[in-house]
């Protein structure tokens, strides 16, 4: 069995991600009520081995991972890859060069 963080932490993590996605009104969302409902239903009532609860725990952990990774991936995407390619002028500028503006250099005569 994979070692997972405690259900409470996972629950709070998911709610945090939902708030990041949906803003302050996240408590009215479908996902919020569903997640809270599931966590309440799967609360431990004794020390019994409960397969359904472990399944729910693993699934909730997976969902948290999905939300958190998608957010991080999108942040990195926006930071590094979202603007498309640089123009030739910009690329030349990066290495301290300038594109010729005035025609008349070598090869122009033909």
């Amino acid at each position: 069995m994979a070692t997972l963080s405690s259900p409470l932490r996972v629950c709070r993590g998911i709610l945090k991600e939902l708030r990041a996605l949906q803003g302050p009104s996240y408590k009215q969302s479908l996902a919020y009520s569903y997640v809270m409902d599931q966590f309440r239903k799967n609360k431990v009532t004794g020390e019994r081995y409960c397969r359904a609860q472990q399944e729910a725990h693993h699934a909730s952990h997976t969902y948290l991972c999905l939300l958190a990774s998608t957010r991080s991936h999108l942040a990195l995407h926006n930071l590094y890859h979202a603007k498309g390619e640089r123009s030739p002028e910009e690329v030349a500028g990066l290495v301290g060069l300038r594109l010729p503006t005035q025609p008349g250099g070598k090869g122009w005569e033909k």
Partner: protein
């Protein structure tokens, strides 16, 4: 040139919707085409909700219009949890729809449309092809540190799956990989046969992401968490990062994308194969 191609497709898409008889029932295609997954589209709705339609299937409503798949079918999912997760993805979009962040929607579309027109047997065969070249079965001879790392990290998972399914897989450092007995393949084929079409779609997606049947089954069987599975799948890269340093725009970017995709696949398998569990839990209370 690619941009103009996308533009043509967009126009083609709007042409298609003009052809509809009733403008109110215009098809709401998620992405117009599978190949334009990186293209973004303007957000055209405010409110996302779910509803239960015919046969107990759940549908997604965007401002009272029903979501459809790129293939034009009605978008339906078998249970509430999956519907809510998909609705959350649509709800999370801001000014533009970023389809590359909507992994669960993509998986549902694939399962509904089945764009490659394959049946279960073909999917199982293509999934099991990864067993021959499984990431955890290919070992290196040098450098010493990586050899040790692979042995320490991959062997426990390999032993676990060999015990769990009572099969022989083995590892090898030859270019041909380990000899996998026919019996092992049969066992896995039988096991995968017990999955339904939807969960098989998810499982195949996970396998192609992790490039490993062993790690995928380890994760689906809840032996590994998503983070562990992704780490083990990228073991050599992690080793190189530790040695040469981490580059955020390549390494972290790839890792988060892989994690998101793998988690989506795992959740998809879980949610589409465990609908009976959800019901049982509801009845317990």
């Amino acid at each position: 040139m690619f941009r103009s191609f996308a533009k043509i497709q967009r126009q083609f898409g709007s042409l298609l919707s003009f052809c509809e008889v009733c403008p109110k029932k215009r098809p709401l295609t998620g992405g117009l085409n599978y190949s334009t997954a990186t293209a973004e589209r303007k957000k055209f709705y405010e409110d996302v909700s779910i509803s239960q339609g015919e046969g107990g299937l759940y549908e997604i409503n965007l401002d009272r219009r029903k979501l459809k798949t790129p293939g034009g079918k009605l978008f339906t999912v078998p249970n509430e949890a999956l519907a809510i997760a998909v609705a959350t993805e649509w709800d999370a979009q801001r000014e533009t729809l970023k389809f590359y962040t909507m992994h669960l929607t993509t998986l549902c579309n694939t399962a509904l449309d089945n764009p490659t027109h394959r049946d279960k047997d073909q999917m199982i065969s293509s999934a099991l092809k990864f067993l021959e070249t499984d990431t955890v079965c290919y070992r290196v001879d040098e450098p010493h540190g990586l050899v040790e790392l692979q042995k320490n990290e991959w062997d426990p998972v390999l032993h676990w799956i060999e015990n769990r399914y009572n099969v022989t897989i083995g590892a090898s450092s030859s270019i041909l990989g380990p000899e996998i007995p026919e019996q092992t393949r049969d066992t896995f084929r039988q096991h995968l046969n017990s999955y339904n079409f939807w969960s098989l779609t998810g499982l195949e997606f996970v396998i192609t992401q992790l490039k490993s049947v062993v790690l995928s089954l380890g994760m689906i069987d809840r032996h590994l968490s998503v983070e562990q599975a992704v780490l083990l799948s990228r073991l050599e890269e992690e080793y190189q990062i530790r040695r040469w340093g981490n580059v955020e725009w390549a390494h972290d970017y790839d890792m988060y994308e892989l994690r998101a995709r793998t988690a989506a696949g795992a959740l998809f398998v879980h949610l589409s194969s465990e609908s009976s569990t959800v019901k049982r839990k509801l009845m317990q209370d």
